[in-house]
Symmetry: C2
Amino acid sequence: MPHLRHLAVHTATTKPLSLAECADLYPAAGVGGITVWRDALEETDPATAGRQLREAGLEVVSLCRGGFFPAPAESERRAAIDDNRRTIDEAAALGAPVLVLVCGAVPGQPLSESRQQITDGIAAILPHAEANDVKLAIEPLHPMYADDRSAINTMAQANEICDQLNSPLLGIAADVYHVWWDPDLETQIKYAGENGYLFAFHICDWLTPTNHLLTDRGLMGEGCIDIKKIRSWVEAAGFQGFHEVEIFSELWWATDQREYLEAIVQAYKEHC
Amino acid sequence: MPHLRHLAVHTATTKPLSLAECADLYPAAGVGGITVWRDALEETDPATAGRQLREAGLEVVSLCRGGFFPAPAESERRAAIDDNRRTIDEAAALGAPVLVLVCGAVPGQPLSESRQQITDGIAAILPHAEANDVKLAIEPLHPMYADDRSAINTMAQANEICDQLNSPLLGIAADVYHVWWDPDLETQIKYAGENGYLFAFHICDWLTPTNHLLTDRGLMGEGCIDIKKIRSWVEAAGFQGFHEVEIFSELWWATDQREYLEAIVQAYKEHC
């Protein structure tokens, strides 16, 4: 059974809650960490939000999310880079040590071209990340998001960019939902760990059937992912950070979020 | 522009049509080949169906589908093997040179275990395939089907099983929908071609957004897949067979199927 002190929850998991409600309910449920999505910062400036969350007893784990670098026009790519720099500022103000990157893709543009634009984009924002001491975590997304969300679809591809850009502030957010199917997963997690790339670990489950590509993810234990095994791999690779519950689920969002948080804690104890 | 004589259509693509209607409408639209799904054989025995299709001027390309080998209990796996032997009989009676295998997966069972059961299952039916001169084509499925449809999710994994079982009757059905995202695709197609594994080539498109995991596929040109490029790879690898249009789409199924066949021919000319 994992220690609860490693349990973090994403604000997107409990989307109906305001950030103030998260600050209230997460610690009450035993949750130790919080990853903040940018939409949760609409009503509070990042510095105030960070202070309030810490005062509530929560550790701020990450800010979600930057990225979306690829675009056909150079002006659009430059705008994306500027937006990512502002997001790094937000992460620094919030006191989030990590900014998660959903790297982007353009339907119809070759994935290899998008990957080059992603690499170039990350290279362009790395100095700003370094100046602000904010780590950047590439999140490989499941291949079903290769059309318009990310051209980085495996740990191997994320490792490759980390190798290429070679910065202590560039690493990976490994999410079981995206990578569980990968026959090369254990090897690539080991490689990431050996090279200091494992910055974040996200958990949820894959439902059978999955009724929506984006918003039908499962609570741990509801699906087919062997989370314990993948957790054992990331820990064997040296990862000691939070286990972040990131679930997009219309079904769970429609429930009482206080009871949902209890279900999350219970599922975490049983299935992670 | 591809020659129409390479154009085949799956009965599942025009699901509202009976097999007799397919025999009537496909040749009228200029379609040269047909891949028959087993549900289309419910009203006609395979031998009669095959004769009628050939008399209508269609070449029978494949029978879809066998597979689904993995199961927790040995008795279930044995039943799957028996069912696959019967499906080989159907393919032989139909006069289909190829039986397509959707290999199967069991939610929660390790994918590596399922892959072993798949390999064992194919090994068990290969002698029957050889006795009937029916080729078996492993169809790698997109990783979003790794939970319950197939533990074979890349060309590399299919190549591996072909290498292992080493039979001239075992090869691969490459479907652009399932493999387009794979960074290793060109290499693996080349490898499959060099080893004589390329038995079938399926085409359709990936829609953005995709609203259903199974039945929201696009007509060629409606989505983001560079079909021409992948076709150039399979042809460079020596493939000279049919380009089979396999589209599961509630939207297209709801249209006039005669007009849909015209749209298929037009899309094939323009985007493949």
